[in-house]
């Protein structure tokens, strides 16, 4: 394993350890007086009725899906962008066709109203 990833792994552990240590110290220093009213769920000052379930809009799912498609497209384009300086015009045109097809998809989503926040 190259040294780079070892450093990243160490840094990940350290950067997770620092806030965890701070929160633990604060947990030791702070008073602990659990109280039924204090621990109840906040709902603008009223009691919570029924279990915690919300009407989840399908719109969130459509956003996540459109995001996924564009994320995968971008991942395909990054190697092309890295090789850009050595590529011929032909390869650049091919990648532009790729982008245009997905731009067409975005336009389709726009016209179908999938991007409206309802």
């Amino acid at each position: 394993m190259s040294d780079n990833w070892l450093y990243i792994g160490m840094f990940m552990i350290i950067s997770a350890f620092l806030p965890a240590a701070a929160i633990t110290i604060a947990g030791i220093l702070s008073p602990k007086k659990p109280d039924k009213i204090k621990n109840s769920i906040y709902e603008c000052g009223m009691e919570t009725v029924g279990e915690t379930w919300i009407q989840f809009k399908a719109q969130y799912y459509v956003y996540a899906l459109v995001f996924l498609v564009f994320d995968v497209e971008t991942v395909f384009l990054y190697p092309w962008a890295m090789a850009y300086n050595q590529l011929s015009l032909y390869a650049v045109v091919e990648a532009i066709i790729f982008i245009l097809i997905l731009l067409g998809g975005l336009l389709y989503a726009w016209r179908k109203g999938a991007l409206e926040w309802l």
């Binding site: 990833w5 799912y61 066709i97 997905l102 989503a109 999938a114 309802l118």
Partner: protein, 173 residues
């Protein structure tokens, strides 16, 4: 045992445990969270193999997009908050026996394969690999056709998802 062996063992055990918990835990949301841990384990394995681009793309696409999509999809079901009963059905020992037999058969078969001993040529230092990958993706005698077909596939997925996602609105019109 080099340190790399130890790290790999730890990561492999964590990934397999998380994958097991995905299918056996009782709450759907916990299932999604264990899946995220398993995907992270796979990303760490990629990093250990020096496939930096794929490690980063694994986190970016799988954890950043697909796991979030799965969590949103879970939230769309009504049973997300409930504990959904025992996760095994009555006759679970028969498939378990079948799986163990199959696994032993695969292990015995693979242990006699000679391919594990041949070392593949080591790739050059991975500074240039992604650029070579990019050139391969768009050069006419290499992978350009799959590249374009992939974009059409993504377009089809996008259109299908929008069709399914805006079903409620279309019904009203």
């Amino acid at each position: 045992m080099t340190p790399m062996h130890i790290v790999f063992l730890v990561v492999a055990v964590v990934t397999l445990f998380a994958a097991g918990m995905v299918v056996t835990t009782r709450r759907m949301m916990h299932s999604a969270l264990w899946l995220i841990l398993a995907l992270m384990g796979v990303a760490v394995v990629f990093a250990m193999l020096d496939a930096s681009f794929f490690a980063v793309v694994q986190v970016l696409v799988y954890i950043g997009a697909i796991a979030i999509l799965i969590i949103f999809a879970i939230m769309l079901t009504r049973g997300v908050m409930e504990i959904s009963g025992p996760q095994v059905n009555k006759g679970w020992w028969l498939p378990a026996v079948g799986v163990v037999v199959l696994f032993l058969g695969i292990v015995v078969g693979l242990s006699q394969w000679g391919g594990f001993d041949t070392l593949l040529p080591a790739l050059p230092a991975d500074a240039n690999n992604i650029a070579l990958f990019g050139q391969a993706l768009t050069s006419p005698d290499s992978y350009v056709i799959p590249f374009e077909v992939a974009s059409i596939l993504l377009l089809a997925a996008l259109m299908g998802a929008i069709y399914l996602g805006t079903e409620g609105r279309r019904g009203k019109k």
